[in-house]
């Protein structure tokens, strides 16, 4: 059998790039809606209900 026939051909998969692209779009939309600011507000405060106190 020729050498080339024994080799496997591997192609770059498109699916991960499509998935990452879709979520990158969501991420950008979230930024345009000023969501990071809201996330920041939540994250810098102790969330008592989050840790089961109060």
């Amino acid at each position: 059998m020729p050498d080339s026939a024994e080799r496997k051909v591997h192609r770059v998969r498109r699916a991960p790039f499509v998935v990452i692209g879709v979520f990158l779009l969501l991420w950008f939309v979230g930024i345009t809606l000023d969501e990071p600011g809201r996330v920041m507000e939540q994250a810098i405060q102790t969330c008592l209900s989050c840790i089961g106190i109060g």
């Binding site: 591997h10 979520f23 969501e35 809201r38 996330v39 939540q42």
Partner: protein, 302 residues
């Protein structure tokens, strides 16, 4: 590889919990890094935390989505889901194996000598229940009289929050002890239960409960970095089964949703080059399938 992974876990643990001024400030880190998500499960109310928790943030945004809309603010969680989805598309549950502090804690606990028990495979679907019900539906639809929901998973379940945030905050701010009640007791019991269970079984929280793991599991077939199985080289010896910390039988389920790409099967078990790492469809190995013909594997004597 195990040595490298352990150090990566330690480094990520410190990166996500790198604020060591908390014993003096007695408060959380409030700097700009808190706008970046922690890739693993790491409570953002932990006093040392430098990043936000994906699961905590999405619950807070969904719980208050009506109030936000009333105020003309469109906070649907797209930034948080987008961040998590980018990580999922790149690494999937590899994050659980390499960058999750709570996963690392469970691994350390499992090293304690004791009888070890398997976890029934059917229980692994539990994490999807917690993702859908406790992280999405209940915060979105179980509302108080003001139209606000609650972070149900954080409040009633999350043992990482109890361990990393609840107990340290009680030590830092003793005044919080006045607010202790049944909810905290319930969470404490859950946390202690998982601590004990982690000694007896490998990563029980990751396999059965973790909603972030459930989200990343959705990317098992489409993620950029993953382990692949070469069926021509595989002799079905089953050596990859007992080494897997997540109970995956890699030769039977190569795209398994629970594979955390710890690579134990590849580096510690398989002697036939039947498991390899792939990035975007391109295999990362010495090149048996690309550069030179595949040598006949040595078959075991049966």
């Amino acid at each position: 590889m195990g040595f490298v992974r352990k150090w990566v876990q330690i480094i990520f643990g410190f990166l996500m919990n790198g604020y060591w001024g908390f014993p003096f400030s007695r408060s959380l880190y409030q700097g700009p890094l808190k706008v970046i998500c922690a890739p693993g499960l790491n409570c953002y109310s932990c006093p040392a935390s430098t990043t936000y928790c994906i699961i905590g943030s999405i619950q807070q945004l969904l719980a208050n989505v009506r109030l936000s809309l009333d105020a003309g603010q469109y906070y649907f969680g797209l930034y948080v889901v987008g961040s998590a989805g980018i990580l999922g598309g790149l690494f999937g549950r590899m994050i659980c194996g390499w960058a999750c502090p709570f996963g690392f804690i469970q691994e350390l606990l499992h090293k304690i000598p004791s009888p070890k028990y398997r976890i029934p495979r059917v229980l692994r679907f539990g994490k999807f229940f917690f993702l859908v019900v406790f992280v999405i539906l209940l915060p979105l639809f179980a509302l108080d009289q003001f139209g606000a929901g609650e972070p149900w998973f954080c409040k009633y379940i999350c043992p990482a929050g109890t361990l990393e945030a609840g107990l340290p905050m009680l030590g830092l701010q003793p005044s919080l002890q006045a607010g202790l009640g049944f909810i905290f007791l319930n969470k404490l019991v859950i946390m202690l239960g998982f601590v004990v269970w982690s000694v007896l079984s490998s990563r029980p929280f990751c396999r059965m409960v973790c909603p972030l793991g459930a989200f990343y599991a959705l990317f098992s077939r489409v993620r950029m970095v993953r382990l692949r199985w070469d069926k021509e080289n595989c002799v079905r010896c089953g050596a990859c089964h007992p080494v897997c910390p997540m109970g995956v039988k890699f030769d039977e389920s190569p795209d398994d949703m629970d594979c955390i790409t710890c690579m134990k099967c590849m580096t510690k078990a398989c002697r036939f080059d039947a498991i390899y790492l792939e990035v975007g469809g391109i295999p990362l190995r010495a090149g048996r399938t690309l550069a030179r013909p595949n040598p006949a594997p040595v078959r075991p004597k049966i």
